[in-house]
Symmetry: C2
Subunit: 263 residues, 2 copies
């Protein structure tokens, strides 16, 4: 389900590919959502205040293996009192970066909080937020797990989707994400020629004059391509989905080899 | 009203001043809140979804002269549909920077949205968010003004206050704020000796061995001081409140002169 038009964002945005280009796998909305939530420990929490006002506040959080966020909040704060009275809540997590934040990804995970039955949630929180160690021992602090029943992911303008709770829980954060920013910088700084070869041979832009990498994920690489027909967004897939950042280098070499063999 | 103890945060945190130190004016909570809201155009919005879930989302906003936030949102997005049905909402604005975001300032402004009566709100939004120009012409976008009736400011751990709507509206954003980060860097890089003289002569730490500037506002300068008795937070006031960043240089010179005359 898409709003504001159905553009994929990563597909060719202005100049269309010349000829047939095979479909390229990309992360599902559930995978994008899980990856975003796993990328940070800072989020905006919405709770319901006793005067009926939805209350927006800043929190830190951890994520359990199935994607449920963990909060540790004080009843001295309004959001803490709100959760005691009304368990329904949501968290918005936004991708960092430069430029307009509305051009970047964000996700809202919504559901109801509950007190965890064991110590795993608190352990996850204290691992994710070391400065909070010992805080749960204060009587005004409580540990909460948000059981997610609704997920809305926005990848940027005109790229968004609703994700089912089951798909969200089943998806895995992108294993490449922690290394993606550094790898992108390296590719763009040192391998512009290889990126151009990929754009020309594998993405339907044989007349490309420049290409830079804009995204890296477990399935492939996103490119911004310059052509005489205008700019284009393009995407090329790794030989197989990656399961670790350690595989990025070999996958990149294979992709360039494939592009040069096809040229 | 203070929670988590009543420490001012900017007062001496560990090593107490030696002897009497005059009270130093500092920004009011209302001024801190207005300054934070004026510092950015990115916030987390909380609205109420039709299933009763408080819904957290990322928005950009502008601020009217009396401090009321302006939003332009689409009914294709859940927060846009929520505002049509339920006008109560709040915005959380967080200070940027490095380190733990819970150590920095944030503010929640809560109230009810209304459609503005004239074009001033849209003009303010388009000035603050140039990429949104023309967006309000789409039929799914609406302009909203949040009439603020409740404000909660948190300056960091153990420094927080509730601000009345009248005080929030009457307060003015700190005129020095846009220049504060650059001025702090300059003072710390080039004027460590002057900062140490200020800490020794004016803040009750005559045995200080190092001082760095941590905050600059219309009323004065915050310092992190090292002493043989332990670290301390301290504050020194300008000769008179500043009304423009242009006055920072002369005020700093006067403060150093005063410190050296008192030594």
């Amino acid at each position: 389900m898409s709003d504001h038009g159905s553009g994929s964002g990563d597909g060719a945005a202005y100049a269309a590919p010349l000829g047939d280009v095979p479909d390229v796998p990309r992360p599902s909305a559930a995978e994008e959502a899980r990856t975003l939530v796993a990328s940070t420990t800072v989020a905006a929490l919405a709770t319901l205040s006793d005067d009926g006002t939805p209350w927006s506040s800043l929190v830190r959080f951890a994520t359990l293996p199935e994607g449920a966020p963990v909060l540790v909040v004080s009843t001295m704060a309004e959001h803490g009192r709100n959760l005691v009275r009304e368990p329904r809540a949501s968290l918005c997590v936004a991708a960092g970066g430069d430029g307009d934040p509305l051009d970047r990804g964000r996700v809202t995970v919504a559901g109801a909080v509950r007190r965890p039955a064991d110590d795993a949630a608190l352990a996850a929180y204290e691992a994710a937020v070391p400065s909070a160690r010992g805080m749960a021992a204060y009587t005004d602090f409580s540990v909460w797990v948000l059981d997610v029943d609704r997920v809305r992911w926005v990848g940027g303008f005109a790229r968004m989707d609703t994700v089912s709770a089951a798909d969200y829980a089943a998806a895995r954060p992108d294993p490449v994400a922690p290394a993606a920013a550094a790898a992108l910088s390296h590719l763009n700084a040192d391998h512009a020629d290889a990126l151009l070869d990929i754009a020309r041979a594998l993405t339907g832009h044989p007349d490309a004059t420049h290409a830079s990498a804009t995204a890296l994920d477990r399935y492939g690489i996103g490119l911004r391509v310059t052509t005489p027909r205008g700019p284009a967004s393009a995407r090329a897939a790794w030989d197989a989905p990656l399961t670790s950042p350690d595989e990025l280098r070999a996958a990149s070499v294979e992709l360039v080899d494939r592009a040069r063999a096809a040229a």
